[in-house]
Symmetry: none
Subunit: 277 residues, 2 copies
Amino acid sequence: MTPGEGAPKDFAALRAAIAQRAEQLPKRLMQIAGYALENPDEIAFGTVASIAASADVQPSALVRFARALGYQGFTDLQDVFRSRLRDRVLNYDERLAKLRDHGVATSQSGLVLDGFLEASERSIAKFREKVDHEAIDNAVTILAAAHTIYLIGLRRSFPIASYMSYAMGKLGVRNILVDAVAGMGAEQASFMTAVDAALAISFAPYASQTVALTDAAKSRGARIVTITDSVFSPLASPADALIEVSEADFEGFRSMATTMAVAMTLCVAVAARRGES
Amino acid sequence: MTPGEGAPKDFAALRAAIAQRAEQLPKRLMQIAGYALENPDEIAFGTVASIAASADVQPSALVRFARALGYQGFTDLQDVFRSRLRDRVLNYDERLAKLRDHGVATSQSGLVLDGFLEASERSIAKFREKVDHEAIDNAVTILAAAHTIYLIGLRRSFPIASYMSYAMGKLGVRNILVDAVAGMGAEQASFMTAVDAALAISFAPYASQTVALTDAAKSRGARIVTITDSVFSPLASPADALIEVSEADFEGFRSMATTMAVAMTLCVAVAARRGES
DNA sequence: GCTCCAGTGGAATTTTTGTTCTATTTCTAG
DNA sequence: CTAGAAATAGAACAAAAATTCCACTGGAGC
């Protein structure tokens, strides 16, 4: 048999071929087509078995799919998905070269810096792909409707909360930064009423005080907006709007780039929403 | 054996580990180290046999290399190279396509969010090009030598200072967050001595109190490290080390992504430097 | 209602791949 | 110059993977 005759050689052609032939394809093969277009990275890196499991098909179906598109086997198809990633990295090698030219590699702190810059970039790129815009819109709606916004963020999340307090102050949005200074957190939270909203920010390992303050806010009838790293967070269940942010890390230190951008967004969007009415 | 103990988990950390240990590595392993840094894609996609052939070594040498870095086997090492490709930042065309798919442009808050994410990315990219590594190294040297580090950052810079206080605390680096709560800033600063160092963070418009506190620190003999946005900043002249960070902005709100990354770098690098001696 | 066949699932098979083992070479130190 | 240790190459092995095969299902057409 002539190997790979008429099979798309680059990713763009492959995508076109899939889109074109999708209708005539059998059910299970169409299911694979959809999965492949939505999870190209999975195809590029996974094994037949792992992909089959995650796409909920049989391994043999994947091979049939590749054959149907004209490839000799699944491996040939996978090569196309891999080459797509190869091409994308062109500017990365340039960056590496640049780093070497500048002699970064020799400096300890240069490597650390580059690690954090890269973690920030990864965070942002990843977040871009899986933002839940609806959740953010909901959050803005809730916060814009609140009389006073109570900002709850301790330990690692405190910088975020304090930034928001500063920015909202500048924008004329009434807010209270619930801090633990002098142990007054509980008292501050007790001022909340049903016309207010609380913005709780917490990441694993979740500070117990943040959870307690948020629950208190909930029980006083305030609407709750949460920024956290997973839907399994203890802050998820009391939340009326949940914004999920998972930051990349370098050597165990998580970036804050995305969380900061989300914080800024909320401040500006809330102020804008209020300005409209 | 505990699997993967102490092995770098992301690519940046791996690169740092390789660069650091390169000298002590045996000849053949060093050859692999060089090849790996120059052909990361090959490592990510290739098989042990194919990589070995292309790097002109034996397959077993690759396994030894992975082991030497603390991984359980070559596969673990390869995973790091793959993960780097997984969430690589998208190029401009792909990003545009994604924007179109997700219909971001329709939502008000989506536009704002995208603006801030982009400002963060621009900040990071720009900073990468004009970092002064020497300045950062100087800063680390000064801070690592200090008995106590006084963190001076008010208003917009307060989130940075408070993050550093938190991180340094975690890392066992003695520090004092000079805050303006109860107007005690001046008193706190008056505790400084010549064996201490001050880290002053300020951006235009420079808070006068930050400048005053920094000058006070200088006059008490403390070494001064400064993070600011220009060499014309009032914080520039008293500085023993000056790190220049100019953030991109969206609608007048400046990103904090780069400053945060620099802050994290200083914390980790100072702790590491102290750990060495 | 029966037949036929494309489509499918799952196990069997074969190929590929990572890893381990050991003889040999290459350094290092006395 | 020699003994010992570290490093290496290459082949052998075991694990994992892709692929093939075959029995079965569910419709379409007669």
